[in-house]
Symmetry: D2
Subunit: 433 residues, 4 copies
Amino acid sequence: MFPAWMDFMIKTVSELGRSYIRRPDHKHTAKSVNLLCQSLLTRRGEASGVALAKDIVDAYSEMDNDCKIQFLEMIASDFGPDNDSVAKAAQAYLNNPCYDSIKGLSKALKSSRVDLIEMLNFAPGGIEVIIQMRELVLQELKQSKKLLPLEVDLLPLLSAWFNRGFLEFRQITWNSPATVLEQVVNHEAVHEIKSWKDLQRRLGKDRNCFTFFHPALHQQPLIFVQVAYTKGIPRKIGPILAQENGELKTKADSAIFYSISNAQPGLKGISFGNFLIKQVVDHISKEMPEIKIFSTLSPIPRFVNWLQNDYLKRSHTLFTEDEWKLLLKPDWYLDEQIRSQLKDKLILSCAHYLTSEKKDNQPYDPVARFHLRNGAKIENINWEGDLSENGLHQSAGIMVNYKYTPSQIVTNHEAYINQGVIRYSSKIKKILE
Amino acid sequence: MFPAWMDFMIKTVSELGRSYIRRPDHKHTAKSVNLLCQSLLTRRGEASGVALAKDIVDAYSEMDNDCKIQFLEMIASDFGPDNDSVAKAAQAYLNNPCYDSIKGLSKALKSSRVDLIEMLNFAPGGIEVIIQMRELVLQELKQSKKLLPLEVDLLPLLSAWFNRGFLEFRQITWNSPATVLEQVVNHEAVHEIKSWKDLQRRLGKDRNCFTFFHPALHQQPLIFVQVAYTKGIPRKIGPILAQENGELKTKADSAIFYSISNAQPGLKGISFGNFLIKQVVDHISKEMPEIKIFSTLSPIPRFVNWLQNDYLKRSHTLFTEDEWKLLLKPDWYLDEQIRSQLKDKLILSCAHYLTSEKKDNQPYDPVARFHLRNGAKIENINWEGDLSENGLHQSAGIMVNYKYTPSQIVTNHEAYINQGVIRYSSKIKKILE
Amino acid sequence: MFPAWMDFMIKTVSELGRSYIRRPDHKHTAKSVNLLCQSLLTRRGEASGVALAKDIVDAYSEMDNDCKIQFLEMIASDFGPDNDSVAKAAQAYLNNPCYDSIKGLSKALKSSRVDLIEMLNFAPGGIEVIIQMRELVLQELKQSKKLLPLEVDLLPLLSAWFNRGFLEFRQITWNSPATVLEQVVNHEAVHEIKSWKDLQRRLGKDRNCFTFFHPALHQQPLIFVQVAYTKGIPRKIGPILAQENGELKTKADSAIFYSISNAQPGLKGISFGNFLIKQVVDHISKEMPEIKIFSTLSPIPRFVNWLQNDYLKRSHTLFTEDEWKLLLKPDWYLDEQIRSQLKDKLILSCAHYLTSEKKDNQPYDPVARFHLRNGAKIENINWEGDLSENGLHQSAGIMVNYKYTPSQIVTNHEAYINQGVIRYSSKIKKILE
Amino acid sequence: MFPAWMDFMIKTVSELGRSYIRRPDHKHTAKSVNLLCQSLLTRRGEASGVALAKDIVDAYSEMDNDCKIQFLEMIASDFGPDNDSVAKAAQAYLNNPCYDSIKGLSKALKSSRVDLIEMLNFAPGGIEVIIQMRELVLQELKQSKKLLPLEVDLLPLLSAWFNRGFLEFRQITWNSPATVLEQVVNHEAVHEIKSWKDLQRRLGKDRNCFTFFHPALHQQPLIFVQVAYTKGIPRKIGPILAQENGELKTKADSAIFYSISNAQPGLKGISFGNFLIKQVVDHISKEMPEIKIFSTLSPIPRFVNWLQNDYLKRSHTLFTEDEWKLLLKPDWYLDEQIRSQLKDKLILSCAHYLTSEKKDNQPYDPVARFHLRNGAKIENINWEGDLSENGLHQSAGIMVNYKYTPSQIVTNHEAYINQGVIRYSSKIKKILE
């Protein structure tokens, strides 16, 4: 059944004796898998690479969470660069800073962790497991720095592998495999997909769903953006999510990006999003020349939070003391009367929030940060754009349109990057005045 | 036609003024493309990455060879790591050899060349051009070291991208696209394919041709191995190459690898060969259980050369002085009489050559080196195995069978790697006695 | 937009004057489409066939049901063979019964309806519309014979087109397009699929779903059979339909066909079912040699109905008068006590029903008829096999296993066809004694 | 290995005794295969249809030509309609010409040959063999009428199966499988493809090759048309066939159909050609809007033959007696001097030949017949259009352009069909004056 070298390998490994302790249920321990990793990194790995990698990948997949973390911590501590070699190479460079000493330093710095991860990828399904490893690493990093060395090796390797040049731009439709659609349902992060009927609506004739796939990750979208074609830029999300059967309005002139979701938490930080948005704009421009306007209809995820926690704490003159009290009531945003009463000031403070409020010199709001950096401008602030519980909770029901004008994308992007300029429409300007 | 940001980019670049000198024929110069590369590496690149990368890749493709070399030399000299930063980081590490200073060193060492190559890959067809660049780099490196820094960055990146886990194992048949078959014809390195009819023979019913493809290199095999199914291990190449129509002999029990060729000179040194051989052995074992024997029928590319240049110069007692004179005649190997006369001694010296003659502690013969390292053993030395001009010229017509016995591949490989052991059959042993 | 000849055609047709009456909403009437059909059948059709066919197919698709029937009735009455020509040819044959007069008769008999249907198939989506037409024809034929001539032409043409040689045998999995899966849900006729989760269960690791597709009917299965792999032949449907996650039991030795459904009501009477069952038996035998037993777990759709309406009306001695009264109570089969009381006699009468009760010399029960004709034998009668409302209503909860033993399929089939023999197991024999 | 019913079948058949005589080499005879056919037509066929059909198809494929003809003759004589039944049904119709008697007649007339052919199609590869059978039938029909009954059944069945609605319109490129390209080389009927390089030229960037495929005939084009894109309508074939590398001239405004070939001799008479031409015109109009002119560059296959055999024999005044003598010299058309001397009169007689010379009320020239019927008009007569040996031999080197003007195709077609009108350009008119 097994290829000969794997049988051999397994035998050899099991001869490693006491240190190779499998649990009574014959499952691997973090330690026993670590030993397999060491085998993979020796010359033996060259002969039986694929088989050994498969063994490790399978063993990891069967571990429980604690065991996985224990294993990753071992990898993070055991397979780093050798301090002596690095020190020697660093000194050599300082003595003689030439190209050869640079090469020496690079070599000394390359951790065998990188080799190990590259070899794990040999296994069928290896890439999936590596991505799952990183997902766990990112989770753990919130509490402890132990796994940081692993993250430092994983990020550049995954960035190289998921280079935009290898990504396939595809459309998801009702003809796509159920496995793919299932993932769209599971990973939709903005407006929950409640049923397969709901999903079918989102793939209707007046819609499109675009994604990037990687050829080694079969049937697994990396990221997807949902587009609705409308007449003019819509200001409310309700009609877009409603389950009416949607014929493509022949007069549609706008493409609305109403949801962008990452489907691979283990690839966080390897940004495909900006490439995807641009590719979609290009694609639609070419295939549907009647579409002239590109805009989002976006949530403002942290507006209410900011309003209550940051803004109100600062001295300001916008809200009266009475209004202030209303805003401090729990769940005030669910009370239509309060909202109506404060409407103008909420809109104004939202405009202020989007255009001026920063953190680390970037827009405070993560969605604003993403689209402004990409070259969009703030087009509209939409009162009662999203009256869902979530919409009220996050932003008192307000939504934003970020508009992508093809001819301005680069200049907007550059002004944003170089001078921190945030572009907004005359309508926003009027609000702010 | 162009996306907006590309128009913008082109305008901007052309405003760079005098330094951006296009030749009268409006073709890019190495210098103007270098400027494009610098744009790609600035923040501007983020907005217009794909478009800019496409511009550079297209410009490079249109350059003549001299211009290409000039461009690559600029890349090799201009985009390296910054010496001051490296020095500072090296000193920081020596002062405090902790994980953070390791990170600092790694960051300082990463050349923007690597970023540049990664971004060139964004362009459609980028990967092909990068591989062509490396082909040229490897050629130039034979004369000059100028491009070494580029090679030092290209090799690990290409190795990561062409990780065995991303390669697709496929069969080439008469149903394959003509573009693919054309490349098999062009890259066959061992036994020339003289016509499409010749090719059709090699894809006949008693044959198989296996390859690795990479998903980003459409229709371009990376490497291919040609297999013939036979009764017993054949000792002559003639019947295998003959253009008779070949029905699969129902009694075939052996798979003979009679030709292995690399189809991507720009990926030299990124070894797929050993993975391919193993995958083919596994595949055939599973799909055709009646095949029990796996063997090559291989040339001995440097035997005659070694005999005349190395062996004869050393003191030895094998050939008499008269025989020696025969061997020094030009083209003696074409003379059947001479060959017959020396037959036994040629076979003996060939056995000696294959089993004992080394260079850098490895077998002198490159084909022997490849198969022995992979875990094969020397099975037969075949007199008059290849009477083609090339066969006579390289090895006085002698061929070798390297045999792959699945259950011995790992042990053979390990003995070879660790103790330099070269395994051979009792038949070879008898010759040597 | 339109090809020139279609513009011309439309103009010409609209010049046909008063008889060509479109309704105020510019939709076609049955009459106007009939005129288009006449155009298609003239020489004009040769030039603009595809375009005209598309026009007719589109017009038909937009009609309401009444209009469709009106149109089909016109086709059925207007495009038949010419009586005079047939009479002349019949006389000619009687005068001189040679090959030429046979040819003449054939020609005279061929209705232009057949030409018309063949030309409608030119249109993209034409085949779907033709199948829908036949579905309507079959419905109408239950009330009236008006459309019989159309059915007489449709059946042989569709039989030729859907020749088993053109059908593609495929597996439906969770990787299949949602459009395909949606149709499985919609057309499952035996055990309703209640949700996508329910569907996912039916496509689990211990299951298979096999179908025939026709290359011209993209994404539309013609028929599908659902298979569960079990240890031994199961006697109850409950566990098979239960929504537990199903790992393939490694010890499974049986393939159970627990549901066969036709997905194209418009192709009724063009039997794929027997071919599909045989293909599935062959496929599983080859791919899963550990599966030795092939059996159905089938409903007995008309047992209760027969018991109450046919059996009880006849004089018989099986049930006592008191028992008889119980059986005449409405919904007696829902009453567990009654069922228990009558258990042995119900099983016996069911065995009698399956093995002896006939209609037109065929088994009275349609499912029995299908499997026995196919070469199966009756293996088990399973008390409380299906306690769902439907199962109780149809068969007082009883189910049957029809067993397919590969080596006996042909003999069983022949005995059934030639002598009307119904094969059953010794267990059934014991019941009957 | 074999499914059970096939083993059974083979056993049964071999028990049929003496009449079932296999030859000493165990090959089937026409007679033994005929017996298999009879089995297929009995009820047994229902159970073991696919297996039996496969047996017959395989047996036929292994027969030599004489045996095949013998077998086809048996089919043609043995499986026709039953004379008594036909006579009875004909009389019944004459007595009462109603719908039921029509049905009765149809039923009596349907030969079991049709059933047989339909069942042969069940076998994998059955359709290929049926097409080969028809090819042989068509060949034999040139000498004898014996196989006519078979042809009379084959033609309508193949026409139904190869209905245009089932055909797939595809492009052949250098990316197509070698098997497909091989068939293009083998079946090119107008301008021989001399080498793979020649083929590559025909699939160059300024070319297209369009085909119809049938989904059941994998990798086998039915018909193909070769298109060259040019500036204006070319008048000579030489430059089009020349092996220069062809970049798509950016200024191309014309699509030239320079070769149309049928790739399935067994499907002769089932016309795809006119559909293909129209589809190509539509396709190019849509995909390459810069192409405004559609024209052929066509041979005149029978011009010289007609000139020598028909024209000259009739009294006429065009050629003087001396000229007449030149035309009667063998191979006069190879003599450039003769051609030059007669140039004007040859062109005039060619114009006359194309516009006026008829046979059965259709243009005498088969190529003219095809294009004029399709709705083209005669645009140019090109002196020295094809100086190849074949071109000189057929038409003294003259070629024609038939021009397809999308807006005139239908009117031209109708005028041709209804009134026999042949459209030609003013240039042709001038020649004729």
